[in-house]
């Protein structure tokens, strides 16, 4: 019998020299309590430890004997010691489990064991069964198998080579046969289904495979698909940065538009939609990588019931806003409910203020023609801050989200004014059961849209801010570009578009598409105001071109709102991000 090297467990103090292969279990009786009933196995160990796979399945009952045994105890109980015996495989397992459970508690005695071990392996005539007799120093010591390591390195290298970060995936996309795939966050699922149904009824045999996500999830999905060759045929897009990010995956749509609507197709759309559809295109690139399906204004909404009860008029100037809010205070509702937790709400309110102060200046700051530290922009930050410091916004505005909380509160009559946008008209969706909607929303009875009040020293008229709600693009590598074009144009201005407009999801991107049903004359009036008076005059975008600026402005506004930055500091923090963006950072 050759001697072997043992891998010894850390805490075991058993001497491991010159041991033959055998199993050992030592049971220490706590002689004080329940000695017979509950022996506490203090130590149980197999020799050699089950490191070698050879022994895992070939453990046989062996006999062992402890010749000498010393216990150094720390407990109050005097330990009487000594348990020697023969254990089978199962019982050893059992002891081991028991001991594992209890071993690690500090209550147990520390045991030092000196022992030697005699063993009598049951020999078997079949050579494979007593392989432990063959184990040599060589095999026990031979740890990590170089072949596995090599294989792992090779495999990892292969994986890394086939899928590197930062490499544009060779694009191929979407559905096959007569199927197109559609992924977006908007319109909502129910409406999308109606649009698909009406398209498929007119185009038998074609199929649209659609999935609607919430917005953050959609961004994840799109990014993953763009880098995994599964880019959808039709995708929902925000104008500007998002469209530009996927530009290389998208096909120009002007041919599709001209084919469907004729060469003066652009006149069908509201000008802001056409302008924003190209936002961020590189110099000289006049392609339309996305076409708008819905557009909107961002504006304020009033609860007319509360205004009537308070006997106040809807404010048109800042001072009227301030006095109205103060007159309405303490009546159990928020005079001006500002859901400032959302970045987009902060930014659109800021853009309304900034454009009312110096129309268009912020966009010049964004493309480097002006500075964010311009006194007029600082003033806009100032007025944003005044919403909080002058007690216009409700307490805790910075922690309130727009959807669902603030929208629910406003609909429940807990606020007199709220900054949202044209889409609020969908509160009285004619395709929905009217008995199930809140009283204020029925036929838009309790609501009136209005523009953000003018600011002292600013423009004399409130400015129109808005833009594309959602636009659609088609994959450059779509297998069915004609079908995709047909779907896209149908949803913008055809029967699908009609279905969409019938739900009043927002204002259609094309002029002249009118819901087939209104829930009230008031709703019709509001609709006409939005589509005839407001949208054709929208000149200023509700978006920034760069997501980094969007974030920087949102952060700065949040810092001003909470008082951690002055308006001047906020403006310079945006300018420093602006400098990095312009420098290509």
């Amino acid at each position: 019998m050759r001697s072997a090297i043992f891998i010894q467990n850390g805490r075991s103090r058993a001497a491991a020299r010159d041991l033959p292969f055998c199993q050992l279990a030592v049971v220490v009786f706590d002689g004080y309590t329940s000695a017979v009933k509950n022996p506490i196995p203090a130590y149980s160990q197999w020799f050699p430890p089950q490191r070698s796979g050879d022994f895992l399945f070939s453990v046989k009952p062996v006999k062992f004997e402890i010749k000498e045994f010393n216990v150094v105890g720390r407990t109050r109980s005097l330990l009487t010691v000594g348990q020697v015996g023969t254990f089978g495989f199962d019982s050893l397992k059992y002891w081991e489990k028991q001991s594992l459970r209890r071993k690690q508690t500090s209550f147990l005695p520390e045991v030092t064991i000196d022992f030697s071990c005699a063993y009598t392996p049951r020999t078997s005539s079949a050579p494979g069964h007593n392989r432990y007799n063959e184990v040599t120093e060589d095999t026990v010591m031979k740890t990590p198998k170089p072949s596995i390591v090599t294989a792992a390195i090779l495999a990892v290298t292969a994986l890394a080579l086939s899928g590197c970060a930062g490499v544009a995936a060779p694009a191929k996309s979407g559905g096959s046969g007569d199927t197109v795939t559609f992924r977006s966050w908007s319109p909502i699922e129910q409406t999308t289904k109606q649009m698909i149904d009406v398209f498929m009824a007119d185009n038998p045999g074609s199929k649209i495979d659609a999935t609607i996500f919430n917005y953050p999830q959609y961004l994840v999905d799109l990014q993953t698909r763009a880098s995994s060759n599964t880019f959808p045929d039709i995708v929902g897009l925000q104008p500007g940065a998002l469209t530009q990010q996927y530009r290389s995956n998208l096909m120009p749509l002007q041919d599709c538009a001209a084919k469907t609507w004729g060469s003066d197709w652009k006149s069908k759309f509201y000008p802001i939609g056409i302008e924003q559809a190209q936002a961020g295109n590189p110099e000289g690139d006049d392609n339309f990588y996305a076409l708008p399906i819905l557009v909107q204004t961002v504006n304020l909404w009033a609860n007319t019931d509360l205004f009537k009860n308070a006997n106040r008029q809807i404010p048109t100037t800042w001072s009227e806003l301030a006095s109205t809010v103060h007159a309405m205070k303490g009546k159990g509702y928020a005079p001006f409910m500002l859901p400032a937790k959302d970045n987009w709400v902060r930014n659109v309110v800021f853009l309304q203020i900034a454009n009312n102060i110096d129309p268009g200046l912020v966009y010049r700051a964004e493309n480097g023609e002006a500075k964010w530290t311009d006194p007029q922009i600082v003033k806009a930050f100032d007025y944003w801050g005044k919403l909080f410091t002058d007690g216009i916004a409700q307490d805790g505005a910075i922690g309130l989200d727009s959807y669902p909380t603030a929208a629910n509160q406003f609909e429940a009559g807990n606020a007199a004014m709220i900054p949202l946008g044209a889409w609020w008209i969908q509160q009285s969706d004619p395709t929905k059961d009217q008995s199930a909607i809140p009283a204020l929303s029925k036929g838009m009875a309790g609501y009136q849209p209005f523009l953000f009040p003018t600011i002292p020293g600013g423009a004399s008229e409130p400015q129109y801010v808005g833009g594309i709600d959602v636009s659609l693009g088609i994959s450059k590598n779509s297998k069915n570009p004609d079908l995709a074009c047909k779907v896209l144009t149908d949803w913008i201005a055809g029967k699908g578009g009609q279905k969409l407009v019938d739900t009043m999801n927002d204002v259609p991107a094309v002029k002249g598409l009118t819901p087939s049903k209104f829930t009230s004359d008031k709703q019709k009036d509001i609709w006409n105001t939005l589509v005839d008076k407001w949208l054709p005059r929208v000149k200023y975008s509700r978006y920034f071109d760069s997501p980094k600026i969007d974030q920087a402005v949102g952060d700065a506004l949040s810092a001003v709102a909470t008082g951690s930055q002055t308006s001047g500091q906020a403006a310079s923090s945006v300018q420093s991000v602006q400098d990095r963006v312009l420098a290509g950072g």
Partner: protein, 296 residues
């Protein structure tokens, strides 16, 4: 040597499925991330190699320091209170008080709810305008309850941590209950015979006997803290002004909203390093087997 390799082939084949999964879902993403962290990349279009400049930017990024501070706060302020409250609840329920099974279920319910649901509910509760806490504050005169916890940059992270503690305390309680039931009653009897009172039994006997439970909760707590995402995202979106951002929320924001996947990967790599260093030091301090109850 060759003979042993051939003999080991069946074993290696058994390992293969796990190895493939490990390579595909652990090793490969890590390598991918490390590589992406050296790029200026929007996640879609071809990236541009920038070496370590993302790392230099990151270590100069004040928001990154906020996320580190928040992770530290999160680890300290969730694990300890969660364990303490959970331990006390477990002790109480282990005595077989009336309807203890029902209580156990009730305390555990938050842990099985979706963090999104918990987030929305707590947002309503803490809504400073019309929330439950404000209502309670008004009715009882405890005006501090009307604070704008989620909207105050100094309080937001603590508010989210408090919700997290509420959510996961039942989980700790369940762990401790399981641990308590494994304690040998003879030991407690022995202590009683020796004259130990309830306090001594709890502090000197029960508490140390639950060491493996403490350590399991500690490790799970640290891992959970480092990868916290949903609750923060739903309650504050990391705001106001990043005051409650954690590493994962900040990485998500860069990857998908700010179109800087390269920078987000840099954050993730730092997160991996922190997680690995933490786990390894735990293993170093407490031994490899502490979580399974194995020998050190």
């Amino acid at each position: 040597m060759r003979a042993t390799f051939i003999r080991n082939i069946p074993g290696l084949l058994f390992l293969l499925p796990a190895l493939i999964l490990f390579l595909a879902f652990v090793v490969y993403p890590i390598i991918y991330n490390v590589q992406a962290s050296t790029l200026k990349w929007d996640g879609v279009n071809p990236g541009q190699f920038v070496g370590l400049s993302n790392y230099l930017d990151l270590f100069r990024d004040p928001i990154f320091l906020i996320t580190l501070r928040n992770s530290g706060l999160w680890i300290a302020l969730t694990i300890i209170p969660q364990a303490m409250i959970g331990f006390l609840l477990a002790l109480a329920l282990n005595r077989g008080i009336f309807a203890s099974t029902a209580y156990r279920a009730i305390f555990f319910v938050p842990a099985i709810l979706s963090p999104v649901v918990v987030g929305i509910v707590w947002q309503r509760i803490m809504d400073p305008f019309n929330g439950v806490l404000v209502g309670v504050g008004k009715a009882t005169g405890l005006t501090w309850l009307s604070g704008n916890f989620l909207g105050d940059p100094n309080a937001a992270i603590f508010a989210v941590i408090a919700v997290n503690v509420w959510m996961w305390t039942g989980f700790s309680m369940l762990f401790y209950l399981a641990g308590l039931q494994l304690i040998d009653s003879s030991m407690l009897e022995a202590a009683k015979i020796d004259g130990a009172n309830g306090f001594h039994t709890t502090v000197r006997i029960i508490f140390p006997l639950l060491k493996s439970t403490h350590l399991s909760l500690l490790l799970l707590g640290i891992i959970g803290s480092l990868k916290t995402f949903e609750l923060v995202y739903v309650l504050t979106q990391g705001g106001p002004a990043h005051a409650s951002d954690m590493l994962p929320t900040y990485a998500f924001q860069h990857a998908f909203q700010l179109q800087s996947a390269g920078y987000a990967s840099t954050i993730s790599v730092v997160l991996i390093v922190i997680a690995v260093v933490t786990s390894l030091s735990m293993v170093r301090v407490f031994g490899t087997g502490f979580i399974t109850g194995d020998e050190k």
